[in-house]
C-alpha cells in the first residue's frame, strides 16, 4: 500500500511536469476558466434581452403611446413603428420577434370598459425569448393600462395581491447562474479531454509500454493521471470561482466554498475516470475527439446547467441520472445559490462517488485489454 501511494505520487509529479511542458494546454485551461467564463456569463443569455419589437398603431392615442413608451431596455430594444401591411414581411425576414398591433379607437374602448384586444404577434421560432417576452409584454400592457386608468381617475382595484419573492437570486441576474454553470461545464470538458488525451498521448508515444514493463500497476498509472490532471483543474476552477465569478462578476456565493470544493473533487475523480474509460475505446487522438465530443455535449446540455431538468421527458431525466454532471449541477446549485449544507447535499455526493468508482473499475478492466489488443 505504501509502495502504491509512493508510485502514484511519483507518477503524478511526472504528469504535472508533462502538463507544464505543454503550453497549449496551459493556454486552453486559462482561456476556458477566465475569458470564456466571462464572455459566456455576460454575453449569451436565455433571458429576454434586447428583444426586437415593432408596433402598428392604428389608434395613435395617449394610451398606446404610453404603452410603447414603457417597452424599455434592457429587456427590449426601442420599438419601431411599422405599417400594418408590412407585418408579414418584417416577421418572415426575422427582423422582429414581437409585433404589437393597437386597434383603432383602442383608448376609447378601454375607457368605456369594453376590454379591447391588443394583438401580439410572436415569432415562435425564437424559442428562448418568445414565451417569456410575450408574458413580459402582456404584463406591461396590463400595468400601463391600469396606471392610465388610475391617472385618469377610474377606480380599478385587483381582488387579490400576489407578492412574489424570488429567493436566492432576487433580481434574477443571469450572470449569477451562467457564470457558475460555465465553470461546471468547463470542469467536465477539461477533465475528460485532459485525462483521455494524457492516456492516448502516452500510447501514441509508446511511453505507456515503458511504464507497463516497469514495476508499476495500471491502477497506479490511472490514479496518477486522475490526481495530477484533477489537481490542475480544481486549482483553476477555484481561482476562476474566486477571481472571475466572485470578484470580477460580483456574484455572491451563498454556501460554504470548502464544501463545494470537496464535492468538486469527488466530481473530478468521477469525470476523469470517464475520460480514461473513453480513451480505452479509441486508438488515436482524432478518434478520441470524435467520441468525446457528443458525450460532452450531452453531459453538459442535459445536466440542468443550460435548461431546466423539468423540461425533459421522464425517461431522459432518468437516463441522465447516470451522468455525474447531473448530480454535480444539483449539488452546486444547492450550495452556491441556496446555501445548502451537508445534510441536504450528501446524497449527490454519494452518487457521484459511486459513479466514479464504477467508471474507474470499468476503465481498469478495459485498460489492459486495450493495451493487449493494440498492435
Amino acid at each position: 500500500m505504501r509502495a502504491w501511494v509512493r508510485n502514484v505520487l511519483l507518477l503524478s509529479r511526472k504528469e504535472l511536469r508533462s502538463l507544464r511542458a505543454d503550453p497549449v494546454m496551459f493556454v486552453l485551461i486559462f482561456y476556458v476558466f477566465s475569458v470564456a467564463v466571462y464572455l459566456v456569463a455576460t454575453g449569451v443569455r436565455l433571458e429576454v434581452t434586447n428583444a426586437s419589437v415593432a408596433y402598428v398603431d392604428q389608434d395613435r392615442s395617449a394610451l398606446s403611446r404610453q404603452i410603447v413608451g414603457a417597452i424599455l431596455p434592457p429587456n427590449f430594444k426601442p420599438p419601431e413603428e411599422i405599417r400594418a401591411d408590412a407585418v408579414d414581411a418584417a416577421m418572415d425576414s426575422g427582423r422582429f420577434v414581437f409585433v404589437l398591433s393597437f386597434p383603432p379607437s383602442f383608448e376609447a374602448d378601454v375607457l368605456r370598459g369594453r376590454t379591447p384586444a391588443v394583438q401580439l404577434n410572436v415569432d415562435a421560432t425564437a424559442m428562448a425569448q418568445a414565451g417569456n417576452g410575450a408574458a413580459f409584454l402582456q404584463q406591461i400592457i396590463r400595468e400601463e393600462t391600469v396606471r392610465f386608468l388610475t391617472e385618469t381617475g377610474s377606480d380599478v382595484q385587483a381582488p387579490m395581491d400576489m407578492v412574489v419573492r424570488i429567493r436566492f437570486n432576487p433580481n434574477l441576474n443571469a450572470v449569477w447562474f451562467s457564470s457558475v454553470m460555465q465553470i461546471i461545464n468547463n470542469i467536465s470538458i477539461l477533465s475528460v479531454l485532459l485525462t483521455g488525451a494524457a492516456l492516448i498521448r502516452e500510447r501514441e508515444h509508446g511511453t505507456i509500454e515503458h511504464l507497463l514493463v516497469m514495476p508499476v500497476t495500471p491502477s497506479e498509472i490511472m490514479t496518477a493521471k486522475i490526481c495530477a490532471n484533477g489537481l490542475a483543474i480544481i486549482v483553476a476552477a477555484i481561482l476562476s470561482l474566486w477571481l472571475v465569478v466572485q470578484t470580477a462578476l460580483n456574484v455572491p456565493v451563498a454556501g460554504s466554498v470548502p464544501l463545494f470544493v470537496l464535492g468538486a473533487v469527488i466530481y473530478l475523480a468521477s469525470v476523469t475516470g470517464l475520460g480514461i474509460l473513453l480513451a480505452t475505446f479509441t486508438s488515436s487522438m482524432p478518434q478520441f475527439g470524435l467520441l468525446a465530443l457528443p458525450v460532452l455535449i450531452v453531459m453538459n446540455l442535459l445536466s440542468g446547467s443550460t435548461t431546466p431538468m423539468e423540461s425533459m421527458p421522464d425517461w431522459l431525466r432518468m437516463a441522465m441520472q447516470m451522468s455525474p454532471s447531473t448530480h454535480f449541477v444539483a449539488f452546486a446549485q444547492a450550495i452556491l445559490y441556496r446555501g445548502a449544507g451537508p445534510a441536504i447535499v450528501w446524497p449527490q455526493m454519494a452518487i457521484m462517488a459511486g459513479l466514479g468508482a464504477a467508471f474507474f473499475a470499468l476503465a481498469l478492466r478495459r485498460f489492459r485489454q486495450s493495451m493487449a489488443s493494440a498492435r
Binding site: 379591447p116 410572436v122 407578492v163 434574477l172 514493463v213 516497469m214 450531452v298
Partner: protein, 907 residues
C-alpha cells in the same frame, strides 16, 4: 566512364529552423545508371532526394533535373510526368485501406491513363513483382517487402525517365530486399535509358550500384563506383570504407567489435517460449514460436518488419498476452502482474518511448525512482549511466532536440539502469550510424560477458547478427531456424549469413512467383490525356479514393452519420424551453373553500405538480432550499373572507431563483394561474365581474402555433450539425495526408491544387448531404417536424451550405499541422459563430451590431435563414435567394483561399 548528368546540384544548402540539413553541396548525378546515396540516418539524404524530385522547395543554390531548372514551375510540370518519387518509410505513399489494385488504379488515374491502359499496366506490374495473387488485399495488411514492391509499382506506372527511391529497403527482410533489387535490374534492362537514384543505409546493398555518393553531415564525402571508393581507402567492405572516410573526430572512439567466448553458466533458461502464439482477429502475428535463451547469452532475432518479432518480444515482457502457448522467464511462467519479475527485466521498444518533456537526467531519475532504487544508490547509478553512455554533455537537454543515436543511447541507459538480469531490445540500432552502432554492441557484449546479463535483441543488420551467440530467423510469424550464426551458414552451405537467411526464406516462401517483364508487355505511354492543367479525371481520382477511405473507416463514418442524429435527439428532447411539471407546495393557513380552489387552480395546470402541503413557513423554506419544490404558496389566515369582502388579501409566493430562466417562466405562469382563478370566481358571481382586465392581449405564436421548443430547435440544430461535423471531418482530410506522408503523391504527380482540394472535399460534402437527409427524416419521424416551405430551396440551400462548411474545413486543413490541431481548430472556430451569432439561442435581430456582423461573416447565419424560412415560415426561393447567393460565395471564397494557401512544394 563519362555520362551525362541526369541531375546537377550546385551550392545547394537547406535548413530546417536552426538545423542545417545540407551545406553548400554540389554534385552531378550520372544518368542512365543506378546511382546511390549512402550514409546513416539524418545526414541529409532524404532532403537531397526530395529537392531533386521537386517535392521540396529549394532554399539556396541551383538544381537542374532532366535538362531544366527545377525551380521553374513549367519545367516542374513536365518533370512531374517524367519523374517517379518514392518517399522513405514502408509503404508511406500508399493508402493502407485501399487494396493493391485500387492503389495502383489511383496512381494510373493521376497520370490520365484510360481504364483499359491502367488495367493492362497494373496486371503487367503485378506479374513482374509477384503481387498478382493478391490484388484485393489492403495495402496496410501487406508485409514490409510486399509494401515496398507495391510502392515501386506505383512509381513505375507512368514509365518514368528518372526513378527516385528513398531508402526503399529499410526494414525489409533480406530475401525481399534481394528480390527488390532484382526487380529494378530487370526493369532497367527493358528500359535502358531510365535513371535510378536511390538512397540506402545498408552498405552491402550499395555494392551493386553503378555509382555512389557517400554523405555525412549534409556534405558529400566521396563519389565514384564502389570499387573506386573501396580502393581509395584500402578497406575490404564499403562499411569499413565509409568509417574510414568519416572525419577524424567522429571515428576517434571507434574500435572494431570483438566478441570474447561466452563462459558457461548454470541454471534454467533465462527466457523460454513454448508454442507462443498471438492472433489479432483472423490474422496470426506469431505462430507457435519455440526457443530457449540461456543465461548470459546474446540471442539475435532476425526477420522483416511485420514478421512478428515485436509481438513476440512484447509477449515476453507481458505487454501482450499470448493467445496460445507459454512464455517463461527464469524458468517460471510469466505473470504480467508480478512486480518482482519486472525488476529483473529491462526493455527497449522499437520507437523512442521516453518522455520528451523530461530532460535526459529527469528521465533517468524517474525510472530509478520507479524501480525503487534506494536513494543513496539512485544518484550514483544515474551518474554512472550518464557516464557509461556518454550522456553527460546532454544531461539537461530534452530528448526531442537530440540526434537519434544519442536518444537510442538514452533508451538503452534507461533499460539497463536498474541492473536487470534480462534485456529485451527491439531494434535498438535502427537508424544509428555505423560508429555508434559498434559502440552500442561493445556495451552489450560487456554486459553479457562480464555481468552475465541475458540479451535478447532484434536487428536488421547481418553484421550485428554475426556477433550474437545464437540467432533465430523469423518469417510470417514462424521461426525458420535457430542456431549459432556460423552453424546456420554451414547447414545451408551458404557463403554468408545473409545467403543462409535468404535460403531459409526461399524455402519457406516457396518458388518465386515473379516473372520478368517483357518490353512488349508494357503498354505505350498515352501522353495526350494528362497535359491539361485541370483534368476532371484527376479530380475524380482524388474524390473516389477519399470516398473509399471514408467507407473503410467505419468509426469515422458512424460518427459522421450517427453523431448528428444523436445530437439532434439530445437537443430536441433536452434543450427545451417548455417548462412543465414544476413541483410546488402550499402553506394553507386559511383552509377555506377559496384557498382550496386557489390550490386547485395551480395543481390543475399542466405547468405545476402539487407536492404534500407544508405546515410552517420554515418548512417551506427548507423545501425550497433542497430543491424539492420550485414554487411555494403562502396563503394567509382569513384569505377567503378578505377576498370575498373585497379587501384585497395578499398571498405570498416564493420562487426558487437559482435558475433565472426558469424563475422568469414561473412568474409568467403565475400570472396566468392567478387570472384564471379570479375569472372562475367571477364566473360564479362570487367576486365582482369588473375584476381584473381592462384590456386583453391576443397572443399569436406564429410559425409554431403549438409553441413547442422542438419545432423551433430542428432548423437550428440542422444548421449547427451541418457546420460542426462536416468541417471537423474535412479538416482532417489534407492534414492526415501530411501526417502519413501520402501528400507526397500530390506533390510528385501532375495533380493540380484545385483537383486535389476539390476532390478531397466532395466526398465529405456528399456525406454531409446524407447526414442532412437523415436529420430531416429523423425530425419528421420522431418529432413530427415537417417542411412548410419550398423543399427545393431547402435542399439547394443545404447543398451550398455543406459545400461552404466542408470548404471551410479544408481551408483549416491547409494550414494546420496535426490532425488533432485541425479537429480542434475547426470545432472551436466554427462553434462560436454557429451557436452564438447565428440565431440558435438568440435571434440575430436581438444581437448587438458587432454580434450581427460576426454572424454575417460566417455561412451559418445565412443558412439559418433558409433553414428556418423553409421549415417553419413556409418560404421559398423568391424570399430566400440572397442567402443562397451568399452561401455560394462562401464556397468559392474558401476554396480559393485553400488553393492559394496550399503549396505544391514542401517548404
Amino acid at each position: 566512364m563519362t555520362r551525362d548528368a541526369v541531375a546537377s546540384l550546385t551550392g545547394v544548402s537547406h535548413r530546417y529552423g536552426a538545423t542545417a540539413a545540407l551545406s553548400d553541396l554540389s554534385l552531378d548525378i550520372p544518368s542512365g545508371c543506378m546511382a546511390g546515396l549512402i550514409g546513416p540516418d539524418g545526414v541529409g539524404k532524404s532532403t537531397l532526394l526530395a529537392l531533386v524530385s521537386g517535392v521540396r522547395k529549394l532554399q539556396d543554390g541551383g538544381i537542374t533535373v532532366l535538362g531544366g531548372d527545377i525551380t521553374a514551375p513549367a519545367h516542374r510540370r513536365v518533370c512531374s510526368r517524367r519523374i517517379a518519387y518514392m518517399p522513405q518509410g514502408l509503404g508511406r505513399n500508399l493508402y493502407p485501406t485501399l487494396s493493391v489494385y485500387e492503389n495502383l488504379d489511383f496512381f494510373g488515374q493521376l497520370f490520365g491513363q484510360s481504364r483499359a491502359e491502367r488495367h493492362a499496366r497494373i496486371m503487367t506490374l503485378l506479374q513482374a513483382t509477384g503481387l498478382a495473387p493478391f490484388p484485393d488485399r489492403p495495402a496496410g495488411k501487406l508485409s514490409g517487402g510486399m509494401k515496398q514492391k507495391l510502392s515501386l509499382c506505383s512509381a513505375l506506372i507512368h514509365d518514368p525517365d528518372l526513378v527516385i527511391l528513398d531508402e526503399p529497403t529499410t526494414g525489409v527482410d533480406p530475401l525481399s530486399r534481394r528480390q527488390f533489387w532484382d526487380l529494378i535490374a530487370t526493369i532497367r534492362e527493358t528500359r535502358p535509358g531510365m535513371s535510378v537514384l536511390v538512397s540506402t543505409a545498408y552498405m552491402e546493398e550499395a555494392e551493386r550500384f553503378d555509382w555512389l555518393a557517400a554523405m555525412n553531415a549534409g556534405r558529400i564525402i566521396a563519389t565514384g563506383s564502389p570499387d573506386e571508393i573501396r580502393a581509395r581507402t584500402g578497406q575490404p567492405t564499403l562499411e569499413q570504407a565509409f568509417i574510414d572516410l568519416l572525419p577524424e573526430a567522429e571515428r576517434r572512439n571507434h574500435r572494431s567489435v570483438e566478441v570474447p567466448p561466452r563462459p558457461d553458466r548454470d541454471g534454467p533458461p533465462a527466457i523460454e517460449a513454448r508454442g507462443l502464439t498471438r492472433r489479432f482477429g483472423d490474422f496470426t502475428a506469431v505462430d507457435h514460436v519455440d526457443f530457449q535463451i540461456r543465461p548470459g547469452e546474446i540471442f539475435g532475432f532476425l526477420g522483416s518488419n511485420g514478421c512478428g518479432k515485436t509481438t513476440t518480444m512484447k509477449m515476453l515482457t507481458g505487454l501482450q498476452t499470448a493467445s496460445e502457448g507459454q512464455a517463461l522467464l527464469f524458468g517460471e511462467p510469466l505473470d504480467p502482474d508480478d512486480m518482482a519479475t519486472r525488476r529483473r527485466v529491462g526493455y527497449m521498444s522499437q520507437s523512442f518511448s521516453l518522455y520528451s518533456e523530461l530532460s535526459v537526467r529527469q528521465n533517468l531519475d524517474l525510472h530509478a525512482r520507479l524501480y525503487h532504487l534506494p536513494p543513496d544508490r539512485r544518484d550514483e547509478r544515474v551518474a554512472q549511466m550518464l557516464q557509461d553512455f556518454d550522456l553527460q554533455p546532454h544531461a539537461d537537454k530534452l530528448p526531442d532536440g537530440l540526434p537519434l543515436g544519442i536518444r537510442q543511447r538514452l533508451q538503452l541507459a534507461v533499460a539497463v539502469l536498474h541492473a536487470p538480469e534480462v534485456l529485451i531490445l527491439d531494434e535498438p540500432t535502427s537508424g544509428v550510424d555505423p560508429v555508434a552502432r559498434d559502440g552500442f554492441w561493445q556495451y552489450l557484449i560487456r554486459l553479457s560477458r562480464d555481468e552475465g546479463v541475458t540479451i535478447f535483441v532484434s536487428t536488421h543488420f547481418m553484421n550485428e547478427a554475426e556477433r550474437c551467440d545464437r540467432i533465430s530467423l523469423m518469417h510470417a510469424g514462424r521461426v525458420l531456424a535457430v542456431g549459432a550464426p556460423s552453424e546456420l551458414v554451414r547447414q545451408r552451405g551458404a557463403a554468408t549469413l545473409e545467403d543462409a537467411f535468404v535460403g531459409y526464406l526461399q524455402e519457406a516462401a516457396g518458388p518465386d512467383t515473379a516473372s520478368p517483364v517483357q518490353p512488349s508487355e508494357m503498354p505505350h505511354r498515352n501522353g495526350a490525356a494528362s497535359d491539361r492543367s485541370f483534368d476532371p479525371m484527376r479530380l475524380w481520382a482524388f474524390a473516389r479514393r477519399e470516398a473509399i477511405e471514408i467507407l473503410r473507416d467505419p468509426l469515422r463514418l458512424t460518427f459522421a452519420l450517427l453523431g448528428p442524429v444523436i445530437l439532434l435527439l439530445t437537443f430536441g428532447y433536452g434543450i427545451s424551453f417548455d417548462v412543465e411539471d414544476l413541483p410546488f407546495a402550499v402553506l394553507d393557513q386559511d383552509q377555506s373553500a377559496e384557498s382550496r380552489t386557489l390550490t386547485e387552480a395551480f395543481s390543475g395546470s399542466r405547468f405545476f405538480v402539487e407536492q404534500p402541503p407544508v405546515a410552517t413557513p420554515a418548512e417551506l423554506a427548507t423545501r425550497l432550499q433542497s430543491a424539492r419544490i420550485v414554487l411555494g404558496l403562502d396563503i394567509p389566515p382569513d384569505f377567503g373572507r378578505s377576498l370575498l369582502s373585497g379587501e384585497t388579501p395578499e398571498i405570498r409566493v416564493d420562487i426558487d431563483g437559482a435558475m433565472p430562466f426558469r424563475a422568469e417562466t414561473v412568474r409568467g405562469y403565475l400570472q396566468g394561474a392567478g387570472a384564471s382563478y379570479l375569472a372562475g370566481l367571477a364566473a360564479q358571481g362570487r367576486i365582482p365581474a369588473m375584476s381584473a382586465a381592462p384590456v386583453s392581449v391576443e397572443t399569436r405564436f406564429r410559425y409554431n402555433q403549438a409553441f413547442k421548443s422542438v419545432f423551433a430547435m430542428i432548423p437550428s440544430v440542422i444548421m449547427l450539425m451541418l457546420v460542426l461535423i462536416p468541417s471537423m471531418m474535412s479538416a482532417i482530410g489534407v492534414v492526415r495526408e501530411k501526417e502519413t506522408g501520402s501528400i507526397a503523391n500530390f506533390r510528385s504527380t501532375p495533380a493540380s491544387r484545385t483537383e486535389f482540394l476539390l476532390g478531397k472535399q466532395l466526398p465529405y460534402a456528399a456525406v454531409a448531404m446524407i447526414s442532412f437527409f437523415s436529420l430531416v427524416a429523423v425530425s419528421y419521424a420522431v418529432f413530427g417536424g415537417s417542411i412548410k416551405g419550398s423543399v427545393s430551396a431547402l435542399v439547394v440551400g443545404s447543398l451550398l451550405y455543406v459545400l461552404a462548411t466542408t470548404g471551410f474545413g479544408v481551408l483549416i486543413s491547409t494550414f494546420t499541422r496535426t490532425q488533432i490541431a485541425a479537429t480542434f481548430a475547426a470545432a472551436i472556430v466554427s462553434i462560436i459563430p454557429a451557436i452564438n451569432f447565428s440565431g440558435l439561442l438568440v435571434p440575430v435581430s436581438s444581437l448587438s451590431t458587432g454580434g450581427q456582423l460576426a454572424g454575417r461573416l460566417f455561412p451559418s447565419a445565412w443558412y439559418e435563414q433558409i433553414s428556418v424560412g423553409t421549415f417553419a415560415k413556409g418560404l421559398g426561393f423568391a424570399d430566400l435567394w440572397p442567402n443562397h447567393l451568399v452561401l455560394a460565395g462562401f464556397f468559392v471564397l474558401f476554396v480559393t483561399a485553400s488553393i492559394l494557401l496550399l503549396n505544391k512544394q514542401e517548404a
